[in-house]
Symmetry: C2
Amino acid sequence: MNEEKQPLILISNDDGVFAKGLKVLVNAVKHLGQVVVVSPDKPQSGKGHCITLDSPLWYRVSKSYDHDVLIYKCTGTPVDCIKLALLKILDRKPDLILSGINHGSNSSINVVYSGTLGAAIEGAIHNIPSIGFSILNFAPDADFDYASNYVTYIVENVLKLNKNKSLCLNVNIPYSEPENIKGIKIVRQAKAYWDEYFQENVHPYNHKSYYWLGGNFVNKEPDAEDTDEWALANGYISITPIQIDHTDYNEIKVLKQWNL
Amino acid sequence: MNEEKQPLILISNDDGVFAKGLKVLVNAVKHLGQVVVVSPDKPQSGKGHCITLDSPLWYRVSKSYDHDVLIYKCTGTPVDCIKLALLKILDRKPDLILSGINHGSNSSINVVYSGTLGAAIEGAIHNIPSIGFSILNFAPDADFDYASNYVTYIVENVLKLNKNKSLCLNVNIPYSEPENIKGIKIVRQAKAYWDEYFQENVHPYNHKSYYWLGGNFVNKEPDAEDTDEWALANGYISITPIQIDHTDYNEIKVLKQWNL
């Protein structure tokens, strides 16, 4: 294939340049185009759409997984990585941006907190179709390989079928034997929240309390079959399209009646 | 007034506990209820919905502006401040959360990047009506006082009229003489983006390049009278209700036709 005609695929993530999920993502799609990785030099979970304004950024080439994929690491957040890639590193606009594969779910409310999705949403803001991938295996030694064929299949179809320049997809893959995955559901974000707590501990030297965030996920509508949570709980891969417009149009009607 | 019956108003911001806008916000609403401030101990602009997962948080009482307002400062992001306030600091659920007054606009696409709005959105996720306030004065010595009466008016009305527990309002106030502000418009988020660049400089010692993000705001629909940008450009305060559900429902229909 002529390299000029290959789609350019920019890949980032929020678990950092050394994460297993990043390597699996690269290997799942590198035959589909020219792949360049620009990822954070350290884990950036929970960074949401954070950008770095109060300090400069640095980047440099990192060790490559193999000889045909260029990998850069950057000192910033996932969103910073996308901005640096588009403005400084790449010599043409990518055809597609991929982020992940995240080590843990980014379904429902997690889209708000997720650095993986932050990178994908930033791509869509720049009118580049973007996909965030996550798997629901939370084990420290999680196997990401089982997700590989599904990632390839979804990326192939987006490259072939998508006409929407600001497409942003949130793809979550259940933890299951590949033969038990029932298929793909196009679904909305479920109404859910984190029932959180702060674990309080005492500093060993100054004896002051410090607080570490913990929490349990609560799905408010477990029976709603049109949601990502239902799809995942029932053995399906969930795909939720994400939009940049956060306006609550129903609430506009209510507020107008206040006659402020 | 019986203190037990007063609304509890939690206030945070992203410019940090020493910011002028925070003090003006406190003074604009402290007669409307019991006010408690929980703010970051340093500026947190551009933090979006970032939460701190990789390190613990600390908080302590800060110097009070006056004797009837308790002020805490916290080592985390604006969203961390809201979580700490709700889970550790306050002894009852607040009736309202306010964030700001931000030093600079949070209209249109800025809602995605804004720490000010991050705090307000976190409030709405917890089913507490929340408002982020911003002024469009970018001068280092910006006068925030002119916004004060409008802030009071909007908060009074939300306390009196709102029935929506997950209300989240993005309020932007134009920079104008008070007598020139024409009124309030309930509007949607305009389609806009930042035309960005990285300013490249060289480290004085190691001679490596570093990059600092800059950019110019571009409104893609300056003539759309139902947008926040149009309202602000024409002398109105803009109020945009924000929703937590980021699903793109139109795109769901498109994707279903792909038959994945």
